[in-house]
Subunit: 448 residues, 3 copies
C-alpha cells in the first residue's frame, strides 16, 4: 500500500502550488499534468456558451495581488499563497484604499485566526483578499496600498475526459472537480485517486466503458452534461464523484438521489466489509457535482465517495487543507476501496445453475470433502463451502452475485471466487442479465 499511497501523494504535491480556478491557465496546467499520465481529451468551452441554465463565464487569470502598508511593507501577497486572492477578483490598479473601505474586501475566520479562508466570487464582479484573522487584527493603519493584476475576459472553460472503452454497453462515470487552488484534500486527493484508478483500469480488460471527468466544479459538470445530455449522460449505469479521499476519517458514501441504485448497493457492500465505521449518508442536493448529475432531469445513479464530508471538517476550505492533512496511507486505503468497488461494478453478474434441481453433487466435482459431517467454512480457494452453497442455491437467474454476497454475509470477492469455481466445472452459466439501469428506473417510478 505504501507505493500507491506515495504515488497518490506525489500527485497532490505536484499540483498543490498551481492556482486553479473554474477557468484559466492554472486549470489547463492541472489537466495537462493528468494528460501526461492517462489518455485525456481536453475540451474548451468558450466564454458565453450557454450550458443548460448557465453560461460559461469569462476566463480568469490572476498574475499578482498584494496589500502593503503605505510605507511599503507587505501585509498580504498572492505570491505567498493562492488562497489570499478571492477567486475571480477583477484587476485593481495600484492605489491607496482607506481601511474602512478595504475592510469590506477582506475575509478572515475569527474563530480560527491562523488560517486563510477560501473564497470565490465567480459571478459577482468584485475583488477581495483572504487572510488570517490575526493579520487582519494587526492592520491598524488608516489606509493601505492595494494592487491586483488579474485578467478577466473572453476565453474558455477547460475540462478533460478520459474514456476507457468496454466490451459491453453502458458507462461508468468517475468525476473529480479540478478547480480548487492549493487545497489538498478538497480536491487534489479525489483527482489523484481518479487518475490512478483510470491507470489501473486501463491495464485490464473492461466490461463497461469507464469515463473519467476532470472538470471545474458545478459549471464544468454542467458543461459536460450539456454536451452529453442525449448521449453519454444517458448511458451512465453507475457513477461516483470523488473528493476528500486523503484524510483520516472513515470512508463515506453519499447515496445517489435514487438512494438504492445498484452503485449505492455496491459501494455500501464494499464499505461495510472495508471497515465497520464506514458510513452511508442519504442523498442531499448540496455538496459536490453529484448535485448536477442528480438534478431531476438527469437523475443519474451517481453518488459521492469521501472520507471527511463536504463542509463538515475544520480544515475545509481553509489553508489547513494542505499537503500534511492528506496522508499516503489514507490515500492508499481510499484507492484500494475504489479498486474493490470497480471489481464489483465490473464483475457483478447474474448466473444460473445448470443443476438447479436439488443440490449438485459437489464431491464428484472436487468441490467437497468426501467425509461427511464436516461443517461449512475452511477455504483453500478464497471461499468457504458455505459461500459455495449460497452461490449454487441462489443461482436462479434472478440473483446477482452482489445479492448473494449480501444474503450470505460474505464479501463480494469470496462470492465471485466461489462462482468462478462453480463455472469452471460447468455448474453455473451466465443468465440473461437484467438491464440494471432500466430495472432501477422502473423501481423508482413505482416508488414515486
Amino acid at each position: 500500500m505504501n507505493r500507491i499511497g506515495d504515488a497518490l501523494h506525489a500527485h497532490c504535491s505536484a499540483l498543490f502550488p498551481i492556482c486553479r480556478s473554474i477557468t484559466g491557465e492554472g486549470l489547463r496546467r492541472t489537466l495537462r499534468y493528468v494528460a501526461e499520465r492517462i489518455p485525456l481529451q481536453l475540451r474548451e468551452v468558450p466564454t458565453g456558451t450557454r450550458v443548460l441554465d448557465w453560461e460559461i463565464p469569462r476566463e480568469w487569470n490572476p498574475r499578482a495581488a498584494w496589500i502593503r502598508t503605505l510605507s511599503g511593507e507587505t501585509v498580504v501577497d498572492f505570491a505567498q499563497h493562492n488562497l489570499h486572492l478571492v477567486q475571480y477578483s477583477h484587476a485593481v490598479p495600484e492605489r491607496t484604499v482607506p481601511m474602512g473601505e478595504l475592510r469590506q474586501h477582506l475575509h478572515s475566520l475569527p474563530e480560527r485566526p491562523h488560517l486563510i479562508p477560501y473564497r470565490t466570487a465567480y459571478y459577482a464582479d468584485s475583488w477581495g483578499f483572504c487572510l488570517p484573522h490575526r493579520v487582519l487584527e494587526g492592520m491598524a493603519d488608516p489606509a493601505y496600498r492595494v494592487f491586483i493584476d488579474a485578467e478577466l475576459g473572453p476565453g474558455a472553460l477547460t475540462y478533460g475526459e478520459c474514456l476507457l472503452p468496454g466490451r459491453e454497453e453502458g458507462e461508468v462515470l468517475v468525476s473529480a472537480h479540478a478547480c480548487h487552488p492549493s487545497l489538498a484534500n478538497d480536491n487534489l486527493s479525489g483527482l489523484a485517486c481518479a487518475l490512478e484508478l483510470a491507470r489501473w483500469l486501463a491495464g485490464r480488460p473492461r466490461r463497461f466503458t469507464w469515463r473519467f471527468l476532470f472538470a471545474p466544479g458545478t459549471i464544468g459538470a454542467l458543461a459536460w452534461l450539456a454536451a452529453n445530455r442525449d448521449g453519454a449522460a444517458r448511458r451512465v449505469r453507475h457513477g461516483m464523484v470523488l473528493s476528500n479521499l486523503g484524510d483520516g476519517a472513515p470512508l463515506t458514501w453519499k447515496r445517489s438521489r435514487r438512494e438504492d441504485a445498484p452503485i449505492d448497493r455496491m459501494v455500501a457492500h464494499v464499505l461495510r466489509h472495508e471497515a465497520p465505521d464506514n458510513r452511508l449518508l442519504p442523498f442531499s442536493p448540496y455538496g459536490y457535482d453529484e448535485r448536477q448529475y442528480c438534478s431531476p432531469g438527469f437523475d443519474l445513479p451517481v453518488g459521492c465517495l469521501q472520507r471527511s464530508v463536504h463542509g463538515t471538517f475544520p480544515e475545509y476550505h481553509t489553508s489547513a487543507d494542505d499537503l500534511a492533512f492528506v496522508r499516503p496511507e489514507h490515500l492508499a486505503r481510499s484507492f484500494a476501496a475504489l479498486c474493490t468497488i470497480a471489481e464489483v461494478v465490473e464483475r457483478d453478474e447474474t448466473l444460473a445453475s445448470t443443476c438447479p434441481l436439488g443440490e449438485p453433487q459437489l464431491g464428484r466435482r472436487g468441490l467437497y470433502a468426501a467425509i461427511g459431517g464436516i461443517g461449512p467454512g475452511g477455504s483453500a480457494r478464497g471461499f468457504g463451502q458455505m459461500t459455495l452453497l449460497w452461490v449454487l442455491n441462489l443461482a436462479d437467474g434472478r440473483h446477482t452475485l452482489l445479492d448473494m454476497a449480501e444474503r450470505a454475509g460474505q464479501p463480494f470477492a469470496a462470492v465471485r471466487a466461489a462462482a468462478d469455481a462453480a463455472m469452471a466445472v460447468g455448474l453455473l452459466v451466465p443468465a440473461a442479465a437484467p438491464d440494471h439501469l432500466e430495472t432501477n428506473r422502473s423501481a423508482i417510478d413505482t416508488l414515486g
Copy 2:
C-alpha cells in the same frame, strides 16, 4: 393563542349543561348553537329508518329523574347532573323500590368513589341511575322512592352538516360526535374545534370541499354514511374524527384503516414537527366514528385526532371530564395543529421544474447569495437555501411537497414557501397531480 383558546373553551362552557343523547331536544339545541355560528344544514332521520345494518331508534327526551328516601330527602337528582340518569332510561312512575331491586339499576365506580360514571342503554329498554360510589355506600335504607319522567317514542335522529365548497373535486370530512351529555373533553372539545376550523376555512379560498359533520356517535355516522354511500362518502379524499382535544396530553393520531393514506402521512408530518412527544397509533376497530368510516365496505381514509386517547384516561366517561379538565391553552394548541393540517391538505401538490437539467442558476434569479462558499441555512423568506435546493431537486413531477418536506426533514410550511418563491420566478409549475385516492387505493390493493 389565548383568544382562540378562550373562544373554544367558551363553546364548551355554553354546551356543557345541555343533556345531549343520540336523539332528542338536547342534541337539537346543541346543533342549533353550532348553526348560529357556521352555515349548518340540520337533517332529521325518522325513527325506524333503516340505516345500513341498523335502525334509527326512538327519540329520547328526559325531563326529570330522582331517587329519594322514603322521608323525601334527595339522594340522586338528574336536575343536578345529566350523568345521573342512564341514557335511554324509560319512564318510571313514582314508586317505592326495595333497595335489593334498586341496586340492579345503580351504576357507580368503586375505585373512584367520588365520580359519577356515564352509562347508556340505547337499545336495552331499561332504566338506571349513575352515582358516586360513596353515595351508593350511604344508601342504607330498605327501600327508596324512584321517579323517571322521560319520553321514549317515535321522533327523529338529528345531525348537522356544514359544507364549504372548494374549487377542485374531492372532499375533506371532519367529523365530531355530538351526543355526549356534560362531558367536556369527550366530546365538546372536538365539537368546538370542528366549529372553529369550519369558521377559519370559511374565510379562505379552498381547494377541496370541506364537510363538517356534527352527529351522534355510531348511529349518526351510520345515518350519514347511509345517506351518502354513493356520493359524498365516495368522494372523501381525507378525513378526521375529532375528539378529546382539550386535555393536556400530547397530540395523538390514530391512523386510518389503510395506515398509510395521505392523511396519515400528512398528520404524522404535522405532529412530528409540532412536538416530539406527539404520538401515532395504529388503526383499531374500536374508538370513535372512524370505526364506521373505516368499515371494510367504505374504507375511507379517515383517522382520529385526539390528545388523551379514547377509554384510556381516568376522567374518561365520568363526571371528572368537566370544564376544568379542558383548558384554553390545550384547545388552542389542538386548533393550531388542525389549521396546520388543513394547510397541508389544501396546499400539498406535485410540482415540476421548468429547469430540470442541472441546477438552475439561482443567483441570476435573486435566490442565492452571489459570494460562493456560503452554506445552507439562513432564511429571509421562511425557508433556507437547503430547503429551496431540495424543492428544485425533487420537482420531477413525482414528488409532492409533503414528500419533499419529509425527505428534507423540514416542516411543510418551509417547503411550501420555497416552492412559492421558485414558482414566482418561473422555476416550478404545477404537474399533473396524481389522484391521491386512486393511488392510495391501488397501493392498498397490492398489499391485500
Copy 3:
C-alpha cells in the same frame, strides 16, 4: 401432555437401538415400525438409479466390527454402540493393523473425550471407527486386531410416504430424515413427531393433502424429488422439515428460501404466541433436507422446525444425543406446536363480510352486550369483542384470518373462533381465496 410426550418418547426408545443408514436393513426396520402405526407406502430405489444430479449408492449392511488388542481384549465393538463404526465402512477381514496405520481410521473428539462422534463416509470407499478420545488415548499398543463384517453392494434405497388426502387441491409436505443411527434428538424426535402428527391428522377432516416423508437425509429427499419433480413437488403449498424436537431449547423456525412464504408467516405466528423466546432464523443453504426442497429449481415453501439448531448444540452428532437428552415434556410441547401449526394451515382462509358498510349491529345478533360503555376483552367463546371487531373490520376479501390475527395481535385460534361465531350468524362468508402458491411466487418474482 404427558400421554403424548410418553408416546413420542416410546417411539424414540423403540427405534434407538437400530443401526440405520441411508440404505439397508436398519432403515427398512425403522420404516416398518412407522408403517405399523400409520398408512405408509414403502418405496425402493435401486442402487445406481440416477436421482437428479446424484446416483443411488450401494446398499450398506454392517453386521459386526471391532478393534481388539493382540491379546484379544475388546477396545471398541460395534455391537456395543452403533456409532462406533463409520457409516459405509467397507469390510475389513480380521487382521493386525499397526497403530500408525490404524490411527488414520480412528475418529474422536479431543475436546469432549467421553463421547463417541458420529461419522459417515457414504461416497468415500473407506473404513473407520469412532471412539471416545479417552479410549483412543489409552491405545498404547504397537498394533491391534481389526475386523469389519459389512456388506456393501447392489441393493436399494428405501423411503416411506404416508399420504392423507384432503378435499382441496394442494399438499402439505412434512419430512423427517430417517437415516441416523442411535441419535435420539437428531432425528428420532422428528420422526416420532411426524408419525404422531400423521396419526392425529388421519382422524380429522382435512382441507389439504398431507404428505409425510420418512427418508434418508439428502439422497432420500433427492430420490423423492426426482420421482415427484413434475407432480407432488410442484403441488406443495406448505412444507416443514422436522428435526431436533426433543431437547429443552426454545422452538426455532428456519425460514424457507423464500423467507416470507405463507408457511413462514404461519409458523412465525404460532411460535410467537407459543413462547416469547422462540426463534426465527433466516434460510441458509445448509442444515437438513430443506436444502434440497429449497434448491433453486424447486424453491418449495419448506422451512425447518427444530428446538436446538443443526450443528450448534454440544450433543449434536455424538453419543450424548441419547434417550436421556430427549424428554417427554419437550416432545409434547413440540407436538402441540405442530398441531397448532396444522390448525393454521388447515383453517386459515379469506372471508368476506356480508355487512361491510358500517359496523354490523352485534347486539341484535347476540354478539354484543346490550348495555353500552363496556370495553373490549372478556371472552365467553374463546375470543374477545375486540377480536370480533377486528375480524369484521378486515373481512374485505383481501385479508386472511392469519393477516387478521397478526394485525389484531391475537392468536389464530381466537380469530378463528370469532370468525366461526360471525359465520354462524351469517355475517361472514368465504371469499374466493387467493392461490397462496401463485401469490407467493409472483411476490418472489418481483423481488428477484
